[in-house]
Symmetry: C2
């Protein structure tokens, strides 16, 4: 199985070579994998920002405990979940379903009942639901990067509120959830690259219910 | 890129052939991919139940809107996040880190500060954090299944509280988050298999910040 060897190859890169850029077609494949990630009912309730602007990335780095990956990696990808789920954003997804598969009465019914369901919950509950879906997209993006031998670092250590302000996410109805840097490792300066991967023992993490 | 073709092949299987079982070595590879999924700080704050017991799966199906995948797929995988993060569960992860990479003062410091950090948050906040990590594991599991041509269905439509009761998760300090069925499609009886994949337009979902 080749995917397993790719997943064993990857690690949370701590030091990137700032001179090496991920070529556009390679980046496109990684984003395509993110787009192919499944989500609850196919809603894909999150947007994905690909940040290359150096000045903005300097500001984001300051809001991410000054972690150098934020500026030194080739690309910074920010997963931002919908801060609420309404006709404005979810409606477009249903429009898309109708466009691709044809409209139907049952689709119209599902749309109505989905929107009613979300309206009956708090914005925070809906945001948490949306954020969870973004993590599936992150998983697919990381797996694709590994296959393409692109180094990637998933990062949760940042001030989400500050990221939202710097990127103007509130105006877009979004809140940042998790980030992923993409690029190529500078193995000589990376303290983590030589260390053994640590994982919980299988017998501890996996439970058989026979 | 082969992963993309696998990801295009997969779909949320609605009807499984109950006679076809996923061989143990293939299942092991899928679970290995889940185990290799990264998580915040390497904590892996969730357990994974692999349910084959037919009587239990009948009960779970009743708690999942009677969706037939729950009983008809070869295996039912339940991702269950830690319901709180304490010395009891996180401590073991730090023990494991020390075992694999050697103990150090800095590791002991990180352990102390991590536990203090989680203690300063509500159990619900910590559970949400843990649940998000489980979705990365789900993503890796789905990607691995696709490569192995094992059909898989990620499912959020179930009564989590009922699942917790049936599986005795509370006693284990766990709460069910998302499930994944694994097996082989019965294409003749699956309404979804022939339908086009729907995804949001790239221009809508991806935002370049140049």
């Amino acid at each position: 199985m080749t995917l397993l060897s790719h997943l064993n190859w990857r690690y949370a890169t701590k030091k990137y070579d700032p001179a090496k850029k991920v070529p556009q077609p390679v980046l496109d494949d990684i984003l395509e994998a993110v787009s192919l990630a499944p989500s609850s009912n196919g809603y894909q309730p999150y947007d994905v920002l690909v940040v290359t602007n150096p000045a903005i990335r300097e500001k984001l780095r300051a809001a991410a405990f000054n972690q150098p990956q934020v500026t030194d990696a080739s690309h910074l990808v920010v997963f931002a979940a919908w801060d609420s789920i309404t006709e404005d954003n979810l409606g477009k997804v249903f429009d898309r379903m109708a466009e691709v598969r044809g409209s139907s009465e049952s689709l119209a019914e599902r749309r109505k009942s989905a929107l009613a369901g979300f309206a009956g919950k708090t914005a925070e509950q809906n945001f948490q639901f949306a954020a969870q879906q973004a993590f599936i997209g992150l998983g697919f993006g990381l797996a694709a990067a590994a296959e393409l031998k692109v180094d990637a670092t998933p990062m949760g250590g940042f001030d989400a509120k500050a990221f939202d302000d710097i990127l103007g996410l509130k105006e877009l109805g979004l809140r940042s959830v998790v980030i992923m840097t993409l690029g190529y490792r500078d193995a000589s300066g990376d303290w983590l690259v030589g260390l053994k991967k640590v994982r919980r023992p299988k017998a501890d993490m996996f439970i058989e219910v026979k």
